[in-house]
Amino acid sequence: MNKKSYIEIEKGVKFLCVNSDKFKTNCIKVDFYLPMSEHLAAQNVLASLMGHTSKKYNTFKSFNGRIESLYGADFDTSIATIGEKIRIRFSVEIPDDRFSLDGKSIAQETVDFLIEIIKNPHCENGEFDKEATDREIRFTLQNIEAEKNDKRAFAVSRLRQLMCQGEPYGIDREKLEQDVKNLDGKKLYDAYADMLKSSTIVITACGNLDGEMVKDKFSGFENSIADRKPADLPTIFITKADKIRYFKDEMDVNQAKLVIGLRSGMENADDSYFPFRVMTDIFGGGPYSRLFLNVREKMSLCYYCGARLFREKGIIFIQSGIEEENYEKALSEILNQLDVMKKGEFTDEDFTSSITALSDAFKGVEDSPVAVCTFYSSQVFDDSLVSGQEYAEKIASVTREQIVECAKRVSVDSVYILAGESGDNE
């Protein structure tokens, strides 16, 4: 397969199209990357609003009617933090043109739709439509509040806020909520203008579609937007925690949710990434991992216990659901397993299992247009793109020694538990 790379179609606009005729569908993702700023609350509302109405399609009915007429396109907008970058994403998957019932190009009509809703949002005279703004503020507030419904996600989000207080990454949910309440159509428009002006735009497409057509249609941001200047996208890496901090929130939950935050020691997203990836996997990845085999299988303390590396911020989160009375037992075993990693006492079998499983998974990562777009767009800020096959090779070349070196750099920052209200479980 040819070496792939994003091409810069104009300053700060990157484009990649992976062509393949083995799929039934085409996928297109348009991402706007921005640094964390005072626009965060407005960006949350924008990501929702721009996926629901636009100037031309100014009701839910007309907007979604257009999507349904594109053969029920799987369309979605979202906002996420990638390290301390904000990513606003427009994502769509559609049947390939060969399935068109009227001879029209589904891909071309879909790209036109994307451009239409991005360039002509639901506003007039520098302000977003009042009704749409109010409705979307309500949705966003309800979304923020609804985080509480998913106790596992809530626990992770709380740990993140507590552990990374003072860093942009530790988003303060209460402040965010307040900021959303104070928004109006004008502030939303300012954030929209900033998105067009300051973002790095990344367009990734995959399938049996005409890359040139997509590229041409997405060209011209530079000319149409005055003073367009993509902003820097920094992320703070804290490489060591001084001492362990302990936190507890009380809520009437049936099962306590334990989350532990680690500083990996990575100095940037590329620093020993592959060894850290394998280390985290041996520690708490698949069912062959130390945490699964010991905390779950041997000690029968939980149903899930796993660790995940957030490369773009250099932190690792460990999650488990336990009975609160087993808190000490679970915590001490998790930390004990981390020590096993640091001392290099994991077995050769642990090591081989992880390498084999990870390599196998990455070799098959290019078997759907959505997966292809997700995989390559996650590498857009790397020096060069690696294919699934090359990714697997990099995993396979990691050595035991490198893993122990990485594990030694890891420090425990914060331990958080979400558990029953006092008196209930104690």
Binding site: S20, K24, D252, Q255, Y303, T356, A361, D367
Partner: protein, 425 residues
């Protein structure tokens, strides 16, 4: 010798192979050109609703505690020597399993060593090994799984609704059972259920991706053991047309009330046809999808948010049209849904709406044929329902607006509906 038939679809330009293997098992192979990975799923038509059954020839139905199908799923991974996960760790496959209302499936995906992984799959599913000690260990783990679901309001809301709608049908019981019911499970009970449901007549294998029929047969010939095929009869729990209660409330810490409104269909036979299922999905989209007047009205009045959704919920002996969402004014939402249903029954479905939704379903049908996991799971699901994988398209094309109007009038009765509400105490 195994009998092999090729089943082709012109539109998709894809084929799959349906094989009656000499061992008695049914096998499906769906090769995908130029794919790197493969996905295999080995399933038995045995799920959480199978708590009362008899094997052909037996006089009486046998009743068993809740949660056994799921418990078995966990335990089959263990063996006297290496457990299945440890064996997969050597081939690199990513393995898992799941239990639903009506089936239990064991699966893996991989790029390398497909044949070795398939051998592991066949081996551990055909060779159960339980002791009282390993059963006890699992009670702790599954107990935590049940507790985890108790903290998920969306899941709870479905089961509160099912208990409000169904008097007798075991669909009202949580798939994993309860902490109490699983404490009654013993190694002997597990063997009894295993020996009933895990046999060639009740199971099938589906594989999709970078594989050939020859590869699959090579492993199947070596590993699949003929066993006494048993015809199992599920008890058809006759349900009254009416619901248990109109409204059921459960308190959990949630930011705003979560509701589920279900319309129970009065059914005289255990199964719906594929056509009825597809019509139901279309009709829910027409009535309450994102382009419906109902959706617009509920949204404009601030009664729902974008979590509002619908589901046609159907299986052996149960059928319901369900509306779910979050709202402080759930009673009002219910009122609006009822009014809209009455109006559409009276006036009929609009042709234009019907055509647009049908086009959407056509697109969704095609989009299901990229992912090898969705293909394999659909193959198993269609087979257990007695349908073919590609039939969906022909059936969809044959559906008319009159079919939708007819089903709407017969399948939804406003009297037989329940609502569950999960809200803060």
């Amino acid at each position: 010798m195994s009998n092999i038939i090729e089943i082709k679809n012109e539109l998709l330009n894809d084929s799959y192979y349906e094989i009656d293997h000499s061992s008695g098992y049914k096998i499906f192979v769906y090769p995908k050109e130029n794919y790197s990975s493969s996905y295999a799923i080995f399933g038995t038509k045995y799920g959480s609703i199978d708590t009362c059954f008899k094997v052909e020839g037996q006089e009486k139905f046998t009743e068993i505690p809740e949660g056994i199908a799921h418990f078995l799923e966990h335990k089959l991974f263990e063996s006297e020597e290496l457990d299945a996960f440890a064996r997969y760790a050597k081939t690199g496959a990513s393995a898992n399993a799941y239990t639903s209302f009506d089936k239990t499936c064991y699966l893996f995906s991989c790029t390398d060593n497909f044949e070795d992984s398939l051998e592991i799959l066949f081996d551990f599913v055909q060779n159960p090994y339980f002791t009282e000690q390993t059963v006890q260990k699992e009670q702790g783990i599954i107990g935590q799984e049940i507790r985890m679901y108790e903290d998920e309001p969306g899941w709870e809301s479905l089961f509160v609704l099912l208990r409000a709608m169904y008097h007798n049908h075991p669909v009202r019981i949580d798939i994993a059972g309860t902490v109490e019911s699983i404490s009654e499970i013993t190694a002997d009970l597990l063997y009894e259920c295993y020996n009933t449901f895990y046999n060639s007549a009740n199971m099938a294998l589906a594989v999709a991706g970078n594989v050939t029929v020859e590869q699959v047969l090579k492993v199947a010939d070596k590993m699949l053991k003929s066993n006494e095929s048993k015809k199992i009869e599920r008890k058809f729990m006759e349900e009254p047309a009416t619901v248990v209660e109109k409204t059921a409330v459960k308190n959990l810490p949630v930011s705003m009330p979560i509701f589920a409104i279900g319309f129970k269909e009065d059914i005289k036979t255990p199964c719906r046809t594929l056509k009825e299922s597809i019509i139901s999905n279309i009709l829910l989209d027409v009535i309450a999808g994102k382009t419906s007047s109902l959706y617009e009205k509920l949204l404009d009045e601030g009664l729902i948010n974008t979590t509002f959704d619908t589901e046609y919920f159907e299986g052996y002996g149960y059928s319901a049209h369900i509306f779910t969402g979050e709202s402080h004014e759930y009673e009002k939402v219910r009122e609006y849904i009822n009014e809209e249903l009455k109006r559409v029954v009276r006036e009929g479905v609009n042709e234009e709406d019907f055509d647009r939704i049908k086009k959407k379903h056509y697109g969704n049908f095609i989009m299901n044929f990229n992912d090898i996991d969705s293909i394999s799971n659909s193959l198993i699901g269609a087979y257990f329902n007695g349908d073919g994988l590609f039939e969906q398209l022909e059936v969809l094309e044959s559906i008319t607006v009159d079919d939708v109007n007819n089903r709407l009038r017969t399948a939804i009765n406003l009297e037989n509906s329940s609502m569950s509400v999960i809200k803060e105490a």
